[in-house]
């Protein structure tokens, strides 16, 4: 079987998975909630005590993207995987000349495409709101507001969206990895959420490691920092969008992208390691 044929099969599985995912009520309702929340950020601004209006809206939008995106990435991936198992469609599919790795890759790509749609919608809504508020501020303050250049770098909103999408990729791959040895959807979702929390907070362990004295604890914390990917790396909202002292260099973005891709592929391969032994 050639690589082209294999690619076609992965594409077909991904396409079907994506269509199935888009039709899910869960995706639509979560998307609606997220859009509503981002759109209502101007309302929540009345609870703000320090940051400027545009900064607050941006923080709020980025928070919604991270929070709801993480929920969607885990639940959608787990659901899409276990739907095939419970409906026995996986059995039919794998009875044909389809490798288990192709099945996993197809499922992952379908879920990842779904996350791309979600990320795009949220970043577009956020950009729209920022544009609206920026126009209102400029109308109020006049051209003086733009004396030091534009207030918002809209490209950065999409850059943040892209980096979050890379993170969702790792998260979806981790979910697939957990699903590959788990028997239930619920177990997969719970374990994946714990993995998310650990990955998000592992930098604290690394910080603690640097201040520890030599010993088994230091070794353990060092290992912990290596085993789990560092999700905090993608938390770059403070360095984007506005004129900040330390702008995110392109090389850093490239490194983050490479890091995300490596971990995504690695977790899919680890999922394959479990899944190939699994009785369906």
């Amino acid at each position: 079987m050639s690589a082209a044929e294999s690619f076609t099969r992965v594409r077909l599985i991904a396409g079907t998975t994506f269509l199935e995912a888009v039709r899910q009520k869960f995706f639509n309702s979560l998307l609606l909630i997220s859009v509503a929340l981002v759109a209502s950020s101007t309302f929540f601004q009345q609870f703000d005590f320090g940051a400027g209006e545009l900064k607050f809206i941006t923080d709020f939008g980025f928070g919604a993207l991270f929070f709801f995106g993480s929920i969607l990435s885990i639940t959608a991936t787990a659901q899409l995987f276990f739907n095939e198992m419970e409906n026995r469609t996986a059995l039919t599919m794998l009875a044909k000349p389809v490798y288990k790795l192709e099945f996993l890759a197809g499922k992952f790509l379908g879920a990842h495409l779904l996350m791309l749609c979600f990320t795009l919608v949220i970043t577009l809504v956020l950009s729209g709101i920022l544009y609206w508020r920026e126009a209102a501020i400029v109308a109020q303050l006049g051209a003086e507001a733009l004396a030091d250049g534009p207030l918002i770098r809209y490209g950065d909103v999409f850059l943040f969206g892209f980096l979050q999408w890379m993170k969702f990729g790792i998260l979806a791959a981790i979910t697939l990895f957990v699903a590959s040895f788990s028997n239930t959807n619920l177990y997969t979702i719970v374990v994946s959420f714990f993995m998310l929390i650990i990955c998000q907070l592992q930098y604290i362990a690394r910080d603690a490691y640097s201040g520890m004295e030599a010993g088994w604890e230091r070794f353990f914390v060092f290992g912990l920092g290596l085993i789990f990917p560092n999700f905090q790396l993608f938390n770059v909202g403070d360095q984007l969008v506005f004129d900040v002292e330390q702008v995110l260099p392109a090389t850093v973005v490239l490194r983050m992208t490479a890091y995300g891709l490596i971990y995504t592929i690695a977790f899919i391969l680890l999922a394959q390691l479990n899944f190939r032994r699994r009785e369906i």
Partner: protein, 264 residues
């Protein structure tokens, strides 16, 4: 021996160890890719003080700590801090202020208002708890003021790690020395520091000179005000007229001969 090796539990343990080893190797391999990027990202993120949040991790705070909604969560917690302040629950107030400033150390509002609550309000509560202003001896009141002021200073010092050029934080420390501790010498030091920061209000320098006068350092105050008058811009906010009046007062007090008096 072979049957032991094929035991499902052993097989499963081996698989788990293989996965862990693979992830460990992956972590080592990706370190050269990740570490330089992490250095840059970390430098741009507010430091997270775990001690301040560990007691509240079970209260839905994880979402905030994870990176999303950190600002809005801090805002809502600040509203809760005000409720705690209204109840005069000083132990909880301290914890809440630390929590809010840890979650979002960017707005100076949290630091300044938090330090005001600690330095000005809590001593009143503690004095009332001990029987009120009439019952508590003056010396004890001063001890309580000092204890609370020190806590507020610690908070402001932490704030200065995040905002080292923020004049308002230096002013806040000076005001606590001046208004709560009645310590003119230390207050003067902090008003001077505040006046040297970018965007400092003009009154910081004037108060510094007044505090020098209060300490009897008239000659020093005179020299400082003359220098200040020369440096200040001709803006109505700079109140150069007031400075000139004070220079003139000091010249009278110091008995400066007419021919040596300051001429702007």
């Amino acid at each position: 021996m072979q049957s032991i090796l094929q035991h499902p539990l052993l097989q499963r343990t081996l698989r788990v160890l293989t996965v862990l080893l693979a992830l460990l190797l992956l972590g080592l391999l990706t370190r050269p890719v990740e570490a330089p990027a992490w250095q840059v990202v970390k430098a741009g993120q507010p430091e997270m003080n775990l001690e301040a949040i560990e007691g509240s991790l079970g209260q839905g705070l994880v979402i905030g700590v994870l990176g999303g909604f950190r600002a809005i969560l801090a805002d809502f917690l600040w509203i809760r801090t005000n409720t705690v302040w209204e109840r005069k629950d000083r132990a909880k107030l301290d914890a809440m202020i630390r929590l809010v400033t840890t979650l979002d150390p960017r707005p100076e509002f949290f630091w300044i208002n938090g330090s005001r609550m600690i330095a000005y309000d809590v001593p009143n509560w503690r004095i009332r708890e001990e029987g009120g202003y009439d019952a508590v001896p003056e010396a004890r009141q001063q001890v309580l003021d000092l204890e609370q002021a020190e806590q507020a200073f610690k908070l402001i010092d932490t704030a200065l790690d995040f905002h080292p050029e923020n004049a308002r934080l230096y002013l806040e420390k000076g005001q606590i020395y001046l208004n709560r501790l009645k310590d003119d010498a230390n207050a003067a030091e902090w008003f001077l520091k505040a006046s040297q920061k970018p965007g400092a209000p003009f009154f910081a320098a004037r108060i510094y000179a007044e505090l020098l006068r209060r300490q009897g350092k008239n000659a020093e105050a005179y020299a400082y005000l003359k220098e200040l008058h020369r440096e200040l811009p001709d803006s109505p906010f700079a109140q150069k007229g007031v400075i000139l009046e004070r220079i003139s007062e000091l010249e009278d007090e110091l008995k400066i001969p007419v021919w040596e008096r300051y001429r702007p």
